[in-house]
């Protein structure tokens, strides 16, 4: 009986992750089908496969354009950004032993917003805006980390406090830029960017975003089990021979990297990084060994789903940041109320 329970440890979690993957795959294919221009599902599969295998073309070139040039980049980016935000949220929650932690907790988002607003003010290109946003996002978190490390006392609390301070500083900066921006073209661009959107994504953008994302995601995935030791008392973890300081630093760096990359190419998309980690906790529990993969897949699934709604619900596109808040906030309240009944 004991050996049985030992070998079966984690079986339920593995099955849950497998089911999530299948769901993501189905949604991924389905996302190509829906849209203003109809493409039947068989053609979608053939078009996608034709990139790898030689298949004779019996679909219109309009279909191919819609699938490969318009929908594919956007679908990929939605999956990547959702994956990154959810993973960053889960990681920050472990590192700060705080279930309310979200990807923007260290100011990565407000830094990116400031950078983007600044870039729009100086009429940078789209790529320029992304780069500036990324740079300011990293800069903000670095500042937060340096300030937090210099205050005496509990390091975790200090970093969180520094995060709140520096965030509000950059938010004020963004407000000021909005004030001085040209109200006829710059101000709407800034406002639109702040709401978050995946529209107009090109394959080139995805190729550009995927590098920093993978650089951050891979280490988190690899050290995921060890992240568990950050959620317990530091003294206990140290007594087991774990270098908690280095581990925490590494996770913060990676989580910041993927947050910055996501926000820089999609704008402010809130709630994903808070709601998905909690939903994943409900499904596979708190062991990061399974929680991290579950968050990754679930995050991708959720943002892809919301983006499908965002581009198909109304004739004009709804910014995805607004939708995630509309769905996320009430859902989070529901989750909280359920916990109390427990």
């Amino acid at each position: 009986m004991e050996t049985k329970s030992a070998t079966q440890n984690g079986k339920r979690e593995r099955i849950a992750i497998l089911i999530l993957s299948v769901l993501l795959f189905v949604l991924f294919i389905f996302s190509f089908v829906i849209g203003r221009y109809d493409v039947p599902v068989t053609d979608v599969i053939k078009i996608l496969l034709s990139r790898v295998f030689p298949i004779t073309q019996n679909w219109t070139s309009n279909m191919e354009t819609a699938v490969i040039n318009i929908r594919l980049p956007r679908i990929l980016l939605a999956c990547l950004v959702g994956c990154c935000l959810a993973t960053a949220g889960t990681s920050y929650q472990s590192v700060f032993q705080n279930p309310m932690a979200a990807p923007d907790i260290l100011g990565a988002s407000s830094g990116a917003c400031f950078g983007a607003a600044l870039a729009i003010l100086f009429d940078f290109s789209k790529m320029g805006i992304t780069l500036t946003a990324f740079f300011f996002s990293i800069l903000t978190v670095t500042l937060v980390y340096i300030i937090g490390a210099r205050i005496r006392g509990n390091q975790i609390v200090n970093i969180l406090l520094a995060g709140i301070m520096v965030s509000s500083l950059f938010s004020a900066g963004t407000s000021y830029i909005k004030l001085v921006a040209d109200p006829s073209n710059q101000l709407p661009a800034i406002t639109y960017w702040l709401m978050g959107s995946l529209s107009g994504t090109r394959l080139k953008d995805v190729g550009f975003a995927v590098i920093p994302m993978l650089i951050g995601l891979a280490p988190i995935f690899l050290i995921r089990w060890r992240m568990n030791l950050l959620t317990i008392n530091e003294e206990e973890a140290k007594s087991m021979g774990v270098n908690t300081k280095l581990l925490r630093f590494a996770v913060i760096v990676c989580a910041t990297f993927i947050t910055a990359a996501s926000v820089a190419c999609s704008g402010m998309i809130g709630w994903v990084g808070l709601v998905i980690p909690h939903l994943s906790r409900k499904i596979v529990g708190n062991n990061c060994r399974y929680l991290i993969p579950a968050s990754m897949i679930f995050g991708a699934f959720f943002l892809l789903l919301v983006d499908n709604i965002s581009r198909n619900l109304l004739a004009t596109e709804i910014p995805i940041g607004i939708l995630t808040a509309f769905i996320g906030a009430p859902f989070f309240i529901y989750l909280m109320m359920q916990k109390e009944n427990h």
């Binding site: 030992a6 929650q93 003294e235 087991m240 021979g241």
Partner: protein
């Protein structure tokens, strides 16, 4: 396995917490550390565990200075069992015990089925393998303590350091935990345990270290050094020790006539 503390002193800023503490324990010893609140019991443990390193004197494990050991190596000798383990997120009992595998696993790997087996074995050793899949946070305080002991054992250490393990337990659980710990010391584990209850020291542990004002007030077999005088010095209240055929019993000395 011998643990020797030699002339250990430790100061917090200009307040000297520990002054020239020396003692040693051998394999299979069960040592209780007694002393009033704030005397430095936890500080002593932190120095031994290596979480405080700016002490003077030395902590020797089989004659080797612990400061020269890598934290991973130190963890293979000494395990820490905290008073209470309050994780932010709930884990299953098996997952809590499995965390001990962090000592030998490389940062990028996850526990193997061998690690799981070892964790199950330590749970078995403490008679709580049936709790493996339960939520750690939903266990009773006594069961939680035993799980933490199991984690320490599967860490493969042979010196167990327990900081007031019984302080938040009910009477039955206190005795259950101490009985288990006692049996572990008989199996060859070295146990250092701090407690606020001198009766526990008297009944369960063979050796006692009494700290007073940061220094060693007494050290030796509990039978010899647990005297009424020592208890009075440590706790500042009159105490009697009654000798019975079931061992010494510590009772407060009350002036009954003055009360009635």
């Amino acid at each position: 396995m011998e643990l020797e503390i030699r002339n250990l002193s430790f100061s917090f800023k200009d307040h000297e917490v520990l002054k020239d503490v020396s003692f040693s324990v051998q394999k299979g010893d069960f040592l209780s550390v007694l002393g009033p609140n704030g005397v430095g019991k936890s500080t002593l443990f932190r120095c031994i565990l290596g979480s405080y390193r700016n002490y003077t004197g030395s902590v020797l494990i089989d004659g080797r200075d612990s400061k020269e050991m890598h934290p991973r190596e130190l963890a293979s000798h000494i395990a820490y069992i905290p008073q209470a383990h309050k994780p932010t997120f709930g884990y299953s009992v098996l997952d809590v015990v499995l965390m001990s595998a962090a000592r030998h696993l490389s940062p990028f790997s996850t526990p193997s089925s061998k690690d799981t087996e070892r964790s199950m074995d330590s749970l078995d050793k403490l008679g709580i393998s049936h709790l493996a899949q339960r939520d750690f946070m939903k266990l009773s305080g006594g069961e939680q303590q035993l799980v933490l002991v199991a984690r320490a054992i599967s860490q493969n250490a042979d010196i167990l350091i327990m900081d007031e393990p019984t302080s938040s337990l009910d009477f039955g659980n206190q005795l259950r935990v101490l009985e288990r710990v006692c049996r572990l010391s008989e199996e060859g584990y070295t146990v250092l345990l701090s407690t606020h209850n001198p009766q526990h020291a008297m009944t369960y542990s063979a050796k006692v270290l009494a700290l007073y004002e940061g220094s060693v007030a007494a050290f030796g077999p509990s039978k010899d050094i647990m005297t009424e005088d020592l208890m009075k010095t440590l706790y500042g209240v009159p105490i009697s020790i009654l000798e019975t055929d079931k061992g010494g019993i510590i009772v407060p000395e009350r002036d009954r006539e003055a009360r009635s």
